[in-house]
């Protein structure tokens, strides 16, 4: 059995801690003193308009980007200070679902799922690998797509397979980058339900980057609003949108009208 259940300990134990995080691209300041804590077993939604640095934030967490300054700790490891080997070890505990799924175009769905498994679980037999692939495809409800190429899948199916590929290594933390972007409302709701079922079944802690209020409401235990490079409000969905901050209200009203 590949899939193991992670220990759910106290909610007060943060699995991700970020303090005073700064990141700029040239003259453009993207993150200006961001502080964040993700607790074990929770879904934290980072809401914000496009281009506010939400994706940059999770790319820094995954070690894909280096911060200009600040403290970034994931599962007790300070990410910017890790060497290649330790960063690789840490990444095996992280699942990253990309905005456009990032499935390998030249491989079938099954090969996409096998790819991380054959590299990092070398002790598994061919039969165990096939079982793990079937099990994780079943979890996302797409067992029948096993032999299809990514180009033959719909947007929603690609998202599901992208999530399945991250789940196959049994991550402790999931990072979702715009999971519902570009999907129709029905498929978006299916993806939101999948995010919740991943949390229940795999006992993951997740950061969900989105600008979709439905996604935030459905999936978030806690919501935080990123604006002008800083978090302006944090709390439950209702608490955040009770805020008197004009920018938060503007974001809410815009989404509501839309």
């Amino acid at each position: 059995m590949i899939i193991q259940e992670h220990n759910i300990s106290s909610r007060e134990e943060p699995v991700i801690r970020i303090q005073n995080l700064y990141k700029s691209f040239g003259e453009k300041k993207v993150l200006s003193g961001v502080n964040l804590e993700l607790y074990r077993g929770e879904n934290l939604v980072v809401l914000g308009r496009s281009g506010t640095g939400k994706s940059v934030l999770i790319k820094i967490i995954a070690g894909l980007l280096k911060p200009d300054s600040g403290f970034v700790e994931v599962l007790g490891k300070e990410v910017p200070k890790l060497n290649d080997r330790k960063l690789k070890e840490l990444r095996l505990k992280l699942g990253f679902s990309f905005q456009h799924s990032a499935l390998y175009d030249s491989m079938t769905v099954m090969e996409n799922l096998k790819f991380p498994l054959v590299r990092h679980k070398r002790n598994l037999s061919k039969k165990e690998i096939d079982q793990a692939v079937d099990s994780v495809l079943d979890s996302v409800g797409l067992l029948e797509t096993k032999h299809q190429m990514p180009a033959e899948l719909s947007g929603g199916q690609r998202k599901r397979i992208g999530i399945a590929r991250t789940l196959i290594l049994n991550p402790e933390i999931m990072l979702y980058d715009e999971p519902t972007a570009g999907l129709d409302p029905t498929t978006s709701i299916e993806i939101n339900s999948l995010i919740n079922s991943v949390k229940e079944k795999f006992h993951t802690s997740s950061i969900i980057i989105t600008h979709d209020l439905t996604c935030a409401k459905m999936t978030g235990d806690r919501i935080t609003m990123l604006m002008d490079g800083q978090f302006v409000e944090t709390g439950t969905f209702e608490e955040v949108f009770r805020s008197k901050d004009e920018r938060v209200q503007e974001f809410y009203n815009y989404n509501f009208i839309k």
């Binding site: 992280l94 990253f96 990032a102 499935l103 390998y104 030249s106």
Partner: protein, 262 residues
Amino acid sequence: MAEKPRRKYLITRNLDYFFTEVYHISKFISRFFREVFRPPFEIGEIIRQCYEIGYKSLALISMTGFITGIVFTKQSRPSLSEFGATSWLPSLVSIAIIRALAPLVTSLIAAGKVGSNIAAELGSMKVSEQIDAMEVSGTNPFKFLVVSRVLATTFMIPVLMCYTGIVGLLGAFVNVAQNENTSFTAFMEGAFSSISFLDIGSSVVKALCYGFTIGIIGCYKGWTATNGTEGVGRSTNAAVVLSMFLIFIEEIILVIITNNLR
């Protein structure tokens, strides 16, 4: 009068771009040499790439090699027959094909076919975040994608070059056999009598260098692709142009070195 500072700015900007590009390519090459000797070795992917680059180029290489042999023989005959020296045709053709045409034609065809393919593949993987996905899944994408492809081009271009040489000589023989009463054995004896080990050795070294250039430039341009599909197109184009340009520069340098060794 306003023209002057603008032109000056344009020159400095181009120079700045040139030196920045040289710096980045040098860094990319040094990363390749750091990664190539460090385990794990992606043997399966290297073999797959050798198949993709070598076997799948055979049809195109066969055609161009054969045609090159025929055309070169056809073009050389009138000049030699003026001096009554058509019997030298096998020697002349073999020297031209083995020393220059085989490595150059093979690598220029490969720069167009293989180099563009590598740049486009890596470029589209880059802009669609597939390279990032590979990295976060704990796989070193540089080793898996770049090292395997550069090694495959470096190993396969010399093999393809040898094949082009043989096919080119066959093309030359077809033309010679049509016009002169020369047997295959006599043609080959004439062809190889004027070829030395240095000729073959220098061509293999040339092909190794060109293969490395095609692989590294194709990978570099794909790896650094930005701005979506338009950027991928630009990178692919730049990979072909730059690798062809570098192949000619290398040709000049290697010919000078080889001639000094003769």
